[in-house]
Amino acid sequence: MRELTYVEALRECMSQEMRENENVFLMGEDIGVYGGAFGVTRGMIEEFGSKRVRNTPISEAGITGSAIGSALTGMQPIVELQFSDFITIAMDQLANQAAKLRYMYGGKGNVPMVLRTPAGSGTGAAAQHSQSLEAWVAHVPGLKVVQPSTAYDAKGLLKAAIDDPNPVIFYEHKLLYKTSSDDVPEESYRIPLGQADVKKEGTDVTIVATSVMVHRALDAAEKLSEEGISVEVIDPRSIVPLDEETIVQSVIKTNRVVVVHEAVKRGGYGAEIASMITESEAFDFLDAPVKRLGASPVPVPYNPELEKAMTPQTDDLIQTCRETLQRT
C-alpha cells in the first residue's frame, strides 16, 4: 500500500472529512497559508478557503471556547493548538466547559470537537514548548485522549475522533511528523478509540508504550530479541478510553510489564496504567513488580544531551526489561 508520512496522513484525513461533511472545519493559529507550525494543514486553505480553514488571533482560551460553542450548536470544529504546552491557557474551557457541559445539562447538548496539538521533546524547543501533559486531560471525565504513534494510526484515529460526539484531545508528536507508514489506505477508515494495538507480539515481557515511545519500545524489542528475549509491545493508542483488556491479557501471558511514556514519570499516566494492572486479575500472574519509565522531574532543558537524558531512551528500556526479567 501507499507510504505516507504522519503529517500527510493527518492532512488527508482532515481533507477527506471536510469534503464529505460541511460541518467539519479548522481553527487555529497560522493554519492558513503558513500551513501550521508543523505543516499539517499545508495546502488546505487553498482547497477549502479561509472560511473553513480559519486563521485565528493568538487567543488560545478564546479559540478553544469558540470551538466548544460552535460544537454545541452543530459544527464539528477541529482546533489546532500550535504546541500542546499552550493547552495550559485553554484548560478552563476544556476541563470546565467542554468536558462537563453535557453532564451538567443532564445529558442535553454535546461537544463534538477535536483539539489537535503536538507534544513532546527532542527538537530543542525547551521547557515551554516540549511538554507531554496528556495526564491532565486524561484525569478529566468527559474528555477523550488519543496519542497516535504511526501515520496509519494517525489517519484512522483522527477520523474516529472527528466522528466522536465528544471532545477529543488528539496529541500528535513532533518527532513523529516526518515518520511514515507504508500501509496507509487512500480511502477513509476509522480506528475505534479504546482499541489498543499489539505492535509486536512477544512472550517474555510486555512493554506498554505511548506515542514516540512505541518506536523506542520496538527498537528495544528488536535488540532484546538478539539476546533471546521476546518482548510484546502494546500501544494503547487512546488512553481515554483505555483498552484495559488487551493490556491485562498480555501481562497474564508474559507475567512481566514495563510501562513507558515520555511525560514526567511523577504523576504521569503510566501510574494509572501500572495501578490498573496491579488492581486487575493480572496481579496474580505478575512475576515482577510493574515497572514504570518516564521523564525525570525537571522542566525540559534546551541542551540536546540534557534533553535526551531527561526522557526514556531505547537503552533505558532495554535495561529496564532486563531488570524486570531478573526479578524473581
Partner: protein, 327 residues
C-alpha cells in the same frame, strides 16, 4: 403600541403585559429560592437576580426563537426570559430528576438547549467564548441567528472577555455582548476594579459599537438591544451593551454586604424596573391597576406551583450517576 415613549421593536399589548408578568415571575422565583436557601431547604449555593429583571426580560424579548443566549451564575432571570419552564427550573434547584439537568447541574448550570439557552455558567466569563462560537455556527451555516451573551461587570476583567470580543469583531460574528453592570463582582466595586467610567468604552478596543443603557428602563433596554441584534443579524458584527443595574440581594447565600451601604441599596431599589414598567403600562392604559395586581398574583401563584411540582418530583436514582458523561 406605546404612546408616550418610543418602542422600536413591535410589541402588542399582550406581549407588553406578558413582559411585566415575566419580570414578576423572575422576581418571585428568586425570592422563593432565597427563602428556601435561608431555610436550608436547598443544597449548594445560588445567585439571585432580584432587581435585575429588566436586563433579563428586555434583551430576550427582542430575540427570535432560534436566537440563542449564554447565561451566567446569576442566570435564573435569563433562563425564564428565554422561555424556560419554571417547574423544571425549580425541580433542578431541588436536585430532582425532573429538573432541567436531571438534578445534576443545579442553579449554576441550568440550560435549555432546545429553547436556545446554551446554559448558565459557574465560571465567570466562561460563557463568552461559547457565545462567540455559537455565533460562528450561525455565520458558517448562514442561519441568521443572533447570540446574546450575558456576563457581569466582574467578568469584563477576565481574559475570556477580551479574546472573545476580539474574535467576534474580526469575524463580524452575530453576537451581542451584554454586560449586566450591577456595580459589584462578589464584593469588588466596579469603581475599584476598572479604571474607566463605563465598561461599554471597551468596545473601542475591538472597533465595535458600545452602548450604555439604564438597566431599570425596560423600554430603553429593548430599544438598544433591538438595534444591536439587528446590527448583528445584518452581518455588521458584534455590539457591546452595558446595562447599569443593581442586585438587591447579597452575592450568594451568605453575604453580609459589608462592601456597600444600606443607603446605596435603597437608592437603587427606588429605581425598580418592574414598578416603572408597570406604571408605564398603566399610564398608557394598556393595563388597569386591577389587571396589574392580578398579573402579579398569577406570577406568584405560578411560582408556588413550580415549588409544588419540584417537591413532588422524585430524586434521581443513584444508577444515573455514571450516565451522560459521554454522548
Amino acid at each position: 403600541m406605546l404612546k408616550s415613549v418610543e418602542l422600536l421593536p413591535e410589541k402588542s399589548s399582550d406581549e407588553l403585559i406578558g413582559l411585566l408578568k415575566e419580570m414578576w415571575t423572575i422576581r418571585y422565583f428568586d425570592e422563593k429560592v432565597d427563602e428556601f436557601f435561608a431555610k436550608g431547604m436547598i443544597h449548594g449555593t445560588t445567585h439571585l437576580c432580584v432587581g435585575q429583571e429588566p436586563t433579563a426580560s428586555g434583551p430576550c424579548s427582542v430575540l427570535r426563537s432560534d436566537d440563542k443566549i449564554t447565561s451566567t451564575h446569576r442566570g435564573h432571570g435569563h433562563c425564564i426570559a428565554k422561555g424556560a419552564d419554571i417547574n423544571l427550573m425549580m425541580a433542578e434547584l431541588f436536585g430532582r430528576s425532573t429538573g432541567y439537568c436531571k438534578g445534576k447541574g443545579g442553579s449554576m448550570h441550568i440550560a435549555d438547549v432546545e429553547k436556545g439557552n446554551l446554559g448558565a455558567n459557574g465560571i465567570v466569563g466562561g460563557g463568552i467564548p461559547l457565545a462567540t462560537g455559537a455565533a460562528l455556527t450561525s455565520k458558517m451555516k448562514n442561519q441568521e441567528d443572533v447570540i446574546l451573551s450575558y456576563f457581569g461587570d466582574g467578568a469584563a476583567n477576565e481574559g475570556s472577555f477580551h479574546e472573545s470580543l476580539n474574535l467576534a469583531s474580526i469575524w463580524d460574528l452575530p453576537v451581542v455582548f451584554i454586560c449586566e453592570n450591577n456595580q459589584y463582582g462578589m464584593s469588588g466595586s466596579v469603581k475599584e476594579m476598572v479604571n474607566i467610567e463605563d465598561i461599554a468604552e471597551r468596545a473601542s478596543s475591538y472597533g465595535i459599537p458600545g452602548v450604555v443603557v439604564d438597566g431599570n428602563d425596560l423600554v430603553e433596554i429593548m430599544n438598544e438591544t433591538d438595534k444591536a441584534v439587528q446590527h448583528a443579524r445584518q452581518g455588521k458584527g458584534p455590539v457591546l451593551i452595558e446595562a447599569k443595574t443593581y442586585r438587591w440581594k447579597g452575592h450568594s447565600k451568605s453575604d453580609a454586604r459589608k462592601y456597600r451601604t444600606r443607603e446605596e441599596e435603597q437608592t437603587w431599589k427606588e429605581k425598580d424596573g418592574i414598578k416603572r414598567f408597570r406604571e408605564l403600562l398603566i399610564h398608557e392604559e394598556i393595563l388597569t391597576e386591577d389587571d396589574a395586581e392580578n398579573i402579579r398574583k398569577e406570577a406568584k401563584q405560578n411560582v408556588e406551583e413550580a415549588v409544588q411540582f419540584a417537591e413532588e418530583s422524585p430524586e434521581p436514582g443513584l444508577d444515573t450517576l455514571l450516565e451522560d458523561v459521554y454522548a
